[in-house]
Amino acid sequence: MRLTCPLCGARDRREFTYYGAEDYLNRPAPDAPPQAWDDYLHNRDNPAGVTRDLWYHDMGCSSWLLVTRNTVTHEILAVEAVADRKGGAA
């Protein structure tokens, strides 16, 4: 499996560390109800198909990447830097 880091180019999967679903980007407000925090930390769509998840290029440029890919075929559809994503935070 290979990911194309926007900064470093196509690299073997072993350069990256996987974290989890895109949900980890949507941090609730500090005073959000417990349900929101439960969803953020634990509950997942976990689709069999296209998903978006987070990978860290720790053997490369230290970018966190948002990867769009298919969990059934392992096809990688898109890779973008978390910091540059559209509608990104702050």
């Binding site: 290979r2 560390t17 230290s62 966190w64 392992h74 096809e75 978390v82 935070a89």
Partner: protein, 971 residues
């Protein structure tokens, strides 16, 4: 028997080898199998379950029978295919899975007992009495099972791993593969051509084929000459592509030194990771055996294998040969043999309407009903259109048609498709992205067809790569149609008809599994073990499937198929794990003081990937504890020096640095004055403690964060995440400087004196202060922090000066009556002070548990704060950090009980995390987590360590045992 003038072996290079202690001659270019056949050795192995005598079935890596042990000194390699192992001078092979000898094998009795050893019999018995399973039945079964043996010696040999990248990977070098490689190469693409065999050419070098009017072998040589001359082509022989993985990544096993005998300069094998833009699968096809009673005797071989032995090795496996086949193509075997002057007793054709025109007798509608010959075939009995007959033959060539070698196309879950016309499975289109099958592996069995598809596949690959394909005329070659009538077993006969030779699965077993309702093909496979042997069912899956389909009244496509998984051929653990031996498994990190510590006799112990000194023994000390006690006292009384460089150091800069630290630490850092250091606690977003450490403010927008050794990488990743995910716009940057600075703790009442002698002028640092200092011309940093509870400093210096500074500090310390101290003393010192490490913050503890709830600022948000507020994360039912004090040793990992309670999980009150003997307090101390512990200081608790056989009482105390007020720290 070897024929004069035939074969591609090097007759100028005779070699001598042994098999089961007997010495034989072969030639360079022989496999062990061809050399044994040349010497008329037919009995090579014993089968797995019934210990049936077995010979050589194939001429390739799919061989299910002829597996041997290769011996090298006290080392041996089991389950080596005689059909793959090349002979060299001194090769020593031994048969396996027999006792006491290959000819006389005691467990041959299993063959007699076969009615009771039918598929799955073991699920139905051996249940009673219960303890007999481990004591009797299982050991007996285990001893009887298995094939070859490992030596039990460490495998000290060399293995390698490597990467390769190319535009086009071509797998297989038969006509399709060579044509694909040539087409892609001429287009200028980077090409890797991988071939499992020692010689390129596939069937072109194993069959008597003509290409463009010349012998196929010559055409192969010409083509290879051109490919070799091209700089963009890499030819890899003896290289089996073992697996297809995501995004054009393939695994491949190269046999580097295995054919050379002892060659210390060569690795035995190299495991390749090949990354290809496009790939062409041209892996050919494997001939299928036929099922008939006792079809497993030595001397019964695949028809194509007989041709391979004839054309490639100049060997005929017997003196009187018969052929049985269900197709036209196999007749080449008989014709080629006769052309070479070998007697062919008869051709048996299973088809009623087959041609009878040959230079030997031909029987149509033939079905073999039995064979004879205990250790090797002596005769076959068959019925045919005109009656029945028995023939004295010592060799039977058989062909049940061909199965495309589509295994790699299954590795990414592709499901092959059944083609009725060829009675075989072919690859599903696009089963592996960017891979195109061509030729026989695609179900196209003529040579001309293979050339054509090879070229088409290359064109397709080139188009995808954006390259134009060269104009290249297709060579002229045989284009005969593939005429076959499916034939799976001899109907209506008793006797066992083997499907899976290696696992001893017969048609009866498959039928029994259907009878017992193991009708799904996967159930059948698992129940009978069909296809789970070393050949992964390459020889037998399709036949077994057909028998199952018949037994269950379904067609083959409805019955489905089991899938093939990587690796395509069994691949050694050593090759895929090359580099992992010994210390190679993980990086080793060494302190700058490493040599200095070793010079002083310090035992170095692992701390994560680092090595740290455990203690520094003095003459006369006999135990670690003596040294540890001395070092602890030394530090409390005078001064000690320790290398603390393993702690993670992260340089943090930017206008929003302070604000950022406020977000990742529970406590506030924006209020920290420049030149000061603060202890910080970090939570995971799920509210548990992630790490702790100090951060120093070096400038308004410049911090230096310290992490624990264990969590250095984790914290770095965490900071990057929080920044990039939640506040990418903030002006803050992180750099790991762990390896840029060597850092030494200098602690004890005389620490200041020591540093004064070093620095000349000692800066007036308050407790938790930091200052730049210079050592000679070198800029260094001085922190007044302490992990020991003593007046203490840490001095940091660029790594290249680390060793010099360490030696210098230790020398100065010794003048003052101090010296270096190691991990053991460090641990005692921190326990005495109640400082925590990852023994306490083990991932399940909250700030509340360790008594740091108040460090979670109420005034601001921080990572983990919301989740830490969940009801289960605080409260009296949780275990809280306490100290324990006792008069005898406690064990970390002991559990705590209220005296008088029964000792049971239900009454468990907590557990001990860290223990030490404290020379300072002359007491045994422990840190522990105790249910509602903070409310229980002063209680007596029972400490039970079953494993270490400790059961004592201890006093529950505050976790800080020594200088609770911190007078010494601030002195």
């Amino acid at each position: 028997m070897r024929l004069a003038g035939k074969g591609l072996i090097d007759r100028g290079q005779p070699v001598t080898f042994t098999f089961d202690g007997s010495t034989y001659q072969g030639f360079r270019g022989d496999t062990l199998a061809s050399a044994l056949l040349a010497n008329d050795v037919r009995l090579v192995g014993r089968s797995f379950k019934y210990h049936r005598p077995r010979g050589i079935l194939t001429a390739g890596s799919e061989e299910p029978n002829a597996m041997v042990e290769i011996l090298e000194g006290n080392q041996q390699t089991p389950n080596v295919r005689a059909t793959v192992q090349e002979v060299f001078d001194g090769l020593a092979a031994r048969s396996q899975n027999r006792f006491p000898s290959l000819k006389f094998d005691l467990l041959g009795i299993n063959d007699r007992l076969s009615p009771f050893l039918s598929a799955g019999f073991y699920y139905k018995t051996f249940m009673w009495p219960r303890p007999f399973w481990e004591k009797l039945y299982e050991p007996l079964i285990r001893r009887a099972a298995g094939l070859g043996s490992l030596s039990r010696q460490h495998d000290e040999a060399q293995y390698e791993k490597a990467w390769a990248f190319c535009d086009v990977l071509v797998i297989g070098s038969g006509p399709a593969g060579l044509m694909a490689a040539l087409t892609a190469a001429r287009a200028g693409a980077d090409v890797i051509l991988a071939e499992e065999e020692a010689r390129m050419g596939g069937r072109l070098v194993s069959d008597n084929l003509r290409v463009d009017g010349q012998p196929g072998v010559d055409w192969v040589e010409g083509t290879l000459a051109e490919l070799r001359a091209l700089p963009n082509v890499r030819l890899m022989t003896r290289t089996t592509v073992t697996g297809a993985y995501d995004d054009g990544t393939f695994g491949a096993l190269e046999r580097v030194g295995l054919h050379c005998g002892p060659a210390p300069h060569l690795p035995r094998e190299c495991f390749w990771r090949i990354v290809a833009g496009q790939s062409v699968l041209a892996a050919g096809a494997l001939e299928r055996p036929l099922a008939f009673p006792d079809n497993d005797r030595p001397g019964i071989m695949l028809a194509s294998a007989v041709r391979s032995y004839l054309h490639r090795y100049g060997v005929v496996p017997g003196h009187r040969i018969a052929l049985i086949a269900n197709n036209d193509a196999a007749r080449a075997t008989a014709r080629d043999l006769m052309a070479a002057g070998v007697k062919v007793a008869a051709i048996l054709d299973t088809r009623p309407d087959a041609s009878v025109v040959e230079d030997c007798p031909v029987y149509v509608n033939a079905q073999i009903t039995g064979t004879a010959g205990r250790l090797g075939l002596t005769s076959i009995t068959f019925r045919h259109a005109g009656g029945s007959a028995t023939l004295e033959v010592d060799t039977l060539a058989m062909s049940g048609g061909w199965n495309p070698t589509l295994h790699l196309t299954c590795h990414m879950n592709g499901r092959p498709l059944w083609r009725e016309d060829i009675a075989a499975f072919v690859p599903a289109p696009d089963a592996v992205p960017r891979l195109t099958p061509a030729g026989a592996c695609n179900g196209t069995f003529s040579t001309a067809g293979a050339f054509r598809e090879g070229q088409d596949a290359a064109r397709r690959a080139l188009a995808a790569l954006g390259r134009s394909a060269p104009d290249l005329a297709l060579p002229q070659a045989e284009d005969a149609p593939y005429a076959l009538a499916a034939y799976w077993e001899t109907p209506g006969v008793e006797g066992r008809q083997w499907l899976d030779f290696a696992n001893d699965v017969t048609t009866k077993d498959v039928k029994l599994s259907a009878q017992e309702n193991f009708r799904s093909v996967e159930h059948m496979k698992r129940y009978t073990t069909q296809g789970m042997a070393p050949d992964q069912g390459k020889n037998s899956n399709v036949g077994a499937l057909a028998v199952l389909a018949d037994a269950t009244g379904r067609g083959i496509p409805q019955t489905g198929t089991t899938t093939f998984r990587p690796p395509y051929v069994p691949t050694s653990i050593a090759a895929m794990g090359a580099g992992g031996r010994g210390a190679g498994f993980a990086p080793q990190r060494f302190l700058t003081s490493d040599q200095a510590s070793r010079d002083r006799g310090a035992p170095m112990i692992e701390a994560g990937l680092w090595y740290r000194p455990s203690y520094f023994p003095k003459p006369g000390e006999t135990t670690w504890l003596e040294a540890c006690n001395r070092e602890t006292r030394m530090l409390r009384d005078s001064v000690g020096v320790a290398d603390v460089s393993t702690l993670g150091k992260i340089d943090i800069q930017g206008r929003d640095a302070a604000r950022f630290l406020d977000l990742v630490y529970t406590n506030t850092f924006s209020t920290l004055p420049v030149g000061r250091v603060r202890y910080g606690l970090m939570l995971r977003e799920d509210g548990h403690v992630l790490d702790d450490g100090t951060s120093a403010r070096l400038g308004e927008h410049h911090f230096l964060m310290t992490t624990t050794t264990a969590a250095a990488g984790l914290v770095m990743r965490h900071l990057d995440f929080v920044h990039q995910a939640f506040c990418a716009g903030w002006d803050v940057r992180f750099t790991s400087v762990t390896e840029s600075w060597a850092q030494f703790a200098v602690a004890g009442p005389k620490a200041r004196d020591l540093l004064a002698t070093l620095l000349g002028e000692m800066p007036d640092l308050p407790f938790m202060g930091v200052a730049d200092v210079t050592l000679g011309k070198v800029r260094a940093r001085l922190f007044r922090i302490s992990f020991s509870g003593e007046h203490g400093y840490e001095i940091a210096i660029p790594t290249r000066f680390g060793e010099a500074l360490f030696r210098d500090l230790v020398a100065r310390a010794e003048i003052l009556g101090g010296g270096p101290y190691g991990m053991e003393a460090l641990n005692v010192l921190r326990i005495e002070k109640g400082f925590i490490t990852h023994a306490e913050i083990h991932g399940r503890t909250t700030a509340f548990d360790i008594g740091m709830e108040r460090m979670v600022s109420a005034k601001k948000d921080c990572i983990g704060k919301a989740a830490a507020a969940r009801p289960g994360m605080t409260g009296p039912e949780r275990d809280q950090l306490v100290g324990l004090k006792a008069t005898s040793p406690m064990g970390a990992g002991a559990h705590l009980f209220t005296p008088g309670d029964r000792v049971h999980r239900e009454t468990d009150q907590g557990y001990v995390t860290s223990v030490c003997y404290s020379p300072t307090l002359d007491a045994h101390l422990a840190l522990a987590f105790l249910r509602n512990g903070r409310a229980r200081h002063g209680e007596t608790i029972r400490v039970v360590d079953h494993l270490r056989k400790i059961d004592i009482l201890a006093e529950v105390t505050d976790p800080v045992f020594h200088d609770k007020e911190g007078v010494k720290l601030r002195a």
